[in-house]
Assembly symmetry: C2
């Protein structure tokens, strides 16, 4: 029996990169194409969003492009973030603070070298109810045998430490890419959850080796890891939900250079690709068709995340997900920018607003 169609509340994407300027103007209008009306916005602009006023101004710029999306704003964890800034952020309805280890991904050069200096900030976040979003990788270190392959696994003791020090602090381990990460999130209490991207539900190491439009951080790992992510999704019960980490880069930064920018662009197909990945996993026998229930999709594509963040969708907007003949369309083109979507030209599911 074919999967779906499914009619659901509008989806939420709890990890998006919307950039700024012409790139933002090009990609913000694609959010709703993915069936999404709430976007949790990453703060890694250049320079990073480290103050409440910067975040509010950024939000206003996003709303000017598409006012029909709710933007949940974040700050970039940085030495200028103090407990006072945390309280100010809470007053301004900023949702969370994102931690990037220094140097591990796009625009992370202002990132964290050590977590301990931020303990007073984490304590204030715990008290105020701000969410800590973790890019869960440690920087590569050849002497220590740390590479992009085990960078996430090696980060997990830090996740567990922060959770034990701040048990009421809500923490999201972003873009889980390994079986180890899934197990670590499961082993923590209810205040710790993980996001899953669409692309990590498709990719393994073979797919991004020499394929620039599938290269991202954290890198996709082994088939066993991918299976663990798919199992985490279907067994989520709120512990894992969608955060696409859609990361647009101009085509010149992806294929015009010897060194390729890390990031996969999935924004216009957030729900569609999730459904396609689930369907392919069913075909491979990794999950069962009966795993993909209405309840699961309502939760994974929005409900679980909204509940975790405490944001309601009062819009009443709904979407219909179905498998038709749609293919991932051509590049997103803006003023001086051009972005190649993930799985360009390949078949995918369809979203309709109903």
């Amino acid at each position: 029996m074919p999967l779906g169609p499914f009619e659901l509340p509008a989806a939420a994407d709890f990890h998006v990169h919307l950039r700024d300027g012409p790139m933002s103007a090009a990609v913000v209008p694609t959010i709703r194409r993915g069936g999404v009306n709430i976007a949790y916005v990453m703060p890694n602009l250049v320079p990073p969003v480290t103050s409440v006023s910067q975040a509010m101004e950024y939000k206003a710029r996003l709303e000017a492009v598409d006012p029909s999306v709710a933007y949940l704003m974040t700050l970039y964890l940085h030495e200028s973030i103090t407990p006072e800034v945390v309280r100010e952020a809470k007053m301004a309805s900023i949702s969370g603070i994102k931690s990037y280890p220094a140097g591990v991904t796009t625009n992370s050069s202002s990132g964290v070298l050590s977590y301990e200096p931020f303990y007073p900030v984490f304590a204030a976040m715990e008290e105020c109810g701000l969410v800590l979003n973790l890019h869960g990788e440690i920087p590569s270190d050849q002497k220590q045998g740390i590479t992009i392959l085990n960078a996430e696994s090696k980060f997990l003791p830090t996740l567990k430490l922060l959770h034990s020090k701040f048990p009421r602090l809500r923490i999201v381990l972003e873009h889980c890419s390994t079986k180890d990460a899934v197990e670590a999130v499961r082993a923590c209490g209810d205040t710790v959850v993980g996001t899953l991207t669409c692309h990590h539900l498709f990719l393994t190491v073979d797919d991004w080796a020499g394929e620039v439009f599938s290269f991202c951080k954290p890198v996709a790992k082994t088939p066993e890891d991918r299976t663990a992510l798919l199992h985490a999704l279907v067994a989520s019960k709120g512990k894992f939900f969608l955060g696409t980490d859609s990361a647009p880069h101009d085509i010149s930064a992806k294929k015009g250079k010897g060194k390729t920018a890390a990031g996969v662009f999935t924004q216009p197909y957030a729900c569609q690709l999730t459904m396609t990945a689930l369907e392919e996993a069913i075909e491979r026998g990794e999950i069962k068709e009966s795993d993909v229930t209405q309840e699961l999709l309502e939760g994974f594509l929005g409900g679980y995340g909204r509940r975790f963040y405490g944001v309601e969708d009062r819009s009443g907007q709904r979407i219909r997900l179905s498998k038709g003949q749609e293919v991932v369309s051509g590049n997103i083109v803006g003023e001086g920018v051009e972005v190649v979507p993930f799985r360009s030209g390949q078949q995918t599911w369809t979203v309709e607003w109903i």
Copy 2:
């Protein structure tokens, strides 16, 4: 104390891709720039070199470009290769037969699916004294958990099986990239050796992720694997020697596309990069300066391989390797082709013919 300079017999490169036509015309003249006067030529043209006459014609084309290099020719293991072809090859002074598993690297679509049908061929090779050159990877298979990361390790039982079935057959495990491969070669008898490329002495997985000019097959693995290769080199005693696997691709095949061709071009810097890699390994404390002896370099850069293949260099040509201010120069440009060398713009050692 600075390393070198060293004066040595001309070097030998026991694994080169010289292509054909304009690409060949561009890269063949760079062989001697790397201090090399004997090149062991891979047969993966399109179509592959599967007959003695093709190999002889190919050799003549290479000699027409640069007659000052000795070209050792190979055939591509393929269903058209019979014991009769082996004997004919021996008569024509063809040195070996290269086995590519189907589909694992550039121009391997005609490759081997199963080794057992070739046992009569291997028996004839053992009898005649032809060398079997193995691309030691098995094709990725997601269901079996086989990826480009463990493809070499998973191949090693095949190496051991072939060695046990044909103990007098000389076998080269080409471009060893893992600790596992080094250990497997060491565990075999004297008829089994391994080649090491320059680039695997530099690279780990972090270096080729998103860096198209460092992407090759087999992919570079972990720092521990790289250390094992460096230790294999300095402890070689004839078991490991240089085969650069220099693999030129036009710049458009490397960075002009979403999908990047696998291959690193090191031909003009074969000896220079080897020395630079050894120097960097000394700086990292992975090997000792006293490991890099005159005897080791004479062996690794030529003597060990010549002895294994039974080819003498009667030219008396000698080279001098020294560390100066040389940097890897710009792209190699030919008629409609342009090739970016590995570590372009970075400092390297110098070769002089003396």
